[in-house]
């Protein structure tokens, strides 16, 4: 066990900051992952997700901040209970699947061979093949088999469905949900917003190295709304609305105006109604809307999100 019962699987990140030379890769990021939950870390490319994972796990040295697993700072022995699947395959090209399983069996006390065989079948992996002969998706699948086979208390997955076909992507999500229900804490990043929406109970959004939004998915969905207004002619001046602290973002597309609003929509509805729109309505946001409103109206961000 990482720590005493009750909070063994919690991850607590406080004020994590990481610089590479003059580049600020992670800027004062704090979040908490409760035990047994699934936590999605979202962000555009280069937002700092992978660096956050690396600093968390001691793979890169943070300039400041603290990370606690089960209330304790990371120490090597804890890796008996923590599994990490990086976005880029870190397995050995010259070893085959069977040799990787044997390597893990000898390295981790909780390695479960039956589980490994079951997952190998699920992903249709040929363990006789060397890693260099596997496709990117199969390499990801092998890394996932290894991670799940050590029966970890904490799973950190960086883009765990990268390169997998839709069927196997679904298997990964099902596995995550199943493991979480058994008490495993899962922290993952993904570009697939549908997957995050399906699996994650809580999310944090990183943008330009900073954490810009975090919370429970259901709570965010109910809090975050869009007020959509259509005008007969060109959009009137929206002074006072764009700068309103309740408004996260305002987008304009011809005569269509969308204001991404947090919590209090009534006051904003009144302000917009004063501009005499042809129609005015409230839309409930999905996770994609929440993400886009959090990272701002940044076309590059939107592009990289879609990659």
């Amino acid at each position: 066990m990482i720590a005493g019962a009750g909070d063994a699987g919690t991850i607590d990140i406080r004020s994590l900051t990481k610089r590479y030379g003059s580049v600020l890769a992670v800027d004062d990021v704090s979040f908490n992952v409760p035990e047994g939950s699934i936590f999605g870390l979202l962000g555009t490319n280069g937002a700092g997700k992978t660096t956050t994972f690396k600093c968390m796990l001691g793979l890169a040295r943070a300039n400041s901040g603290t990370v606690y697993f089960g209330g304790r700072p990371l120490e090597p022995a804890m890796f008996q209970h923590i599994a990490y699947v990086p976005e880029r395959c870190a397995l050995y090209d010259w070893m085959n699947g069977t040799q990787h399983l044997e390597f893990y069996r000898r390295s981790y006390r909780n390695y479960d061979d039956a589980r490994a065989r079951q997952l190998t079948d699920l992903f249709h992996l040929d363990l006789r093949k060397r890693v260099k002969a596997l496709s990117k998706g199969q390499q990801t699948a092998l890394a996932l088999v290894l991670a799940f086979s050590i029966r970890p208390q904490i799973l950190v997955l960086d883009e765990p469905t990268s390169g997998l076909d839709p069927v196997h992507q679904r298997h990964v999500l099902d596995l995550m949900i199943s493991e979480s229900s058994a008490g495993t804490t899962i922290l993952f990043s993904s570009h697939q917003i549908g997957q995050v929406e399906r699996a994650a109970e809580r999310i944090a959004i990183l943008h330009n190295s900073k954490l810009v939004l975090q919370g429970e998915v259901e709570e965010l969905r109910s809090d975050e709304k869009i007020i959509e207004a259509t005008f007969d002619s060109d959009t009137p001046s929206l002074n006072g609305i764009e700068s309103d602290p309740r408004v996260r973002l305002v987008t304009r597309n011809g005569r269509l105006v969308r204001a991404f609003v947090r919590r209090d929509t009534d006051g904003l509805m009144k302000l917009l109604a004063d501009k005499q729109p042809r129609s005015l309505r409230i839309l409930y946001q999905n996770l994609e809307d929440i993400f886009l409103s959090a990272v701002g109206d940044d076309i590059n961000a939107a592009k990289s999100w879609g990659e």
């Binding site: 690396k54 796990l57 001691g58 793979l59 890169a60 040295r61 090597p76 022995a77 804890m78 890796f79 008996q80 923590i82 599994a83 990490y84 990086p86 880029r88 395959c89 870190a90 397995l91 050995y92 010259w94 070893m95 040799q99 044997e102 390597f103 000898r106 390295s107 981790y108």
Partner: protein
């Protein structure tokens, strides 16, 4: 815990052993009638000769597997640094298996040489003297020194590590040869200092008339001590670099 390391060292070790075994078998297959030990009535075959062959063979293997930490740094840190072991413990484990492979290859090469000699019935000509023990230690330490140098040069590198490790040999030879060149005193001094960390210096013989003789004519035990020091210092530098790395 040593499984992957044994597989890794085996990848390099097996071809070496195979090659040495093939050469030994070829030598054994040569008919005695076509072998001449010279006109001497009492031919001598110094045992040190086999230590030198074994030392050089193992030194080549040591240079190759001396890039083991660099190989981990080449895209595998996410796996090895999330194993339940400290960075230092893991690196020491890697190095321990490397060293075991080097020693085994050295022993195999010596035994293969002796097998050739005994197969031809020349065992009685083998010469063991009081210096043989020191020379055994010296040439066993020789590949370990190359291992230390290779690790120190490459521990913080990635895919270019084999190139740098391989270049260490020609650089070492050039350093030694330059010492023979008629250079100014300051340059000669600099070369002398640089050659202090050159394993070739401690694993070579020279005649008394050579300029480099002052570097090379070392007592076997002194040379062995210097080579072991190079091994430990090189490994220490490599471990320090390894601990500073970031994935």
């Amino acid at each position: 815990m040593y499984y992957k390391e044994i597989l890794r060292v085996g990848k390099s070790f097996v071809p070496f052993v195979g090659t040495l075994a093939a050469i030994a078998l070829l030598c054994i297959a040569i008919p005695n009638s076509s072998i001449s030990l010279g006109a001497n009535v009492h031919p001598q075959i110094p045992i040190v000769f086999f230590f030198i062959i074994a030392g050089i063979s193992a030194a080549i293997l040591a240079t190759i597997i001396g890039t083991s930490l660099a190989a981990e740094n080449d895209d595998h840190l996410e796996v090895v640094w999330t194993l339940p072991a400290s960075r230092l413990a893991y690196a020491l484990r890697v190095m321990a298996v490397d060293v075991l492979g080097i020693i085994l290859l050295f022993a195999f090469a010596v035994l293969a040489g002796l097998a050739i000699i005994y197969a031809h019935g020349f065992g009685r000509y083998l010469v063991f003297d009081q210096d043989s023990g020191g020379q055994l230690l010296r040439f066993l330490a020789y590949p370990l020194a190359w291992f230390g140098v290779s690790q120190a040069l490459t521990a913080s590198l990635r895919s270019k590590a084999p190139l740098y490790a391989g270049l260490a040999w020609p650089v070492a030879i050039v350093l030694l040869l330059l010492y023979e060149a008629p250079l100014t005193t300051p340059l000669h001094m600099i070369l002398k200092v640089m050659n202090l960390i050159n394993p070739l210096v401690y694993g070579s013989y020279a005649s008394g008339t050579s300029v480099t003789a002052e570097l090379l004519t070392l007592n076997a035990l002194v040379a062995a001590g210097a080579l072991l020091a190079l091994w430990l210092a090189g490994s220490g530098v490599a471990l320090a670099e390894w601990r500073r790395l970031q994935a």
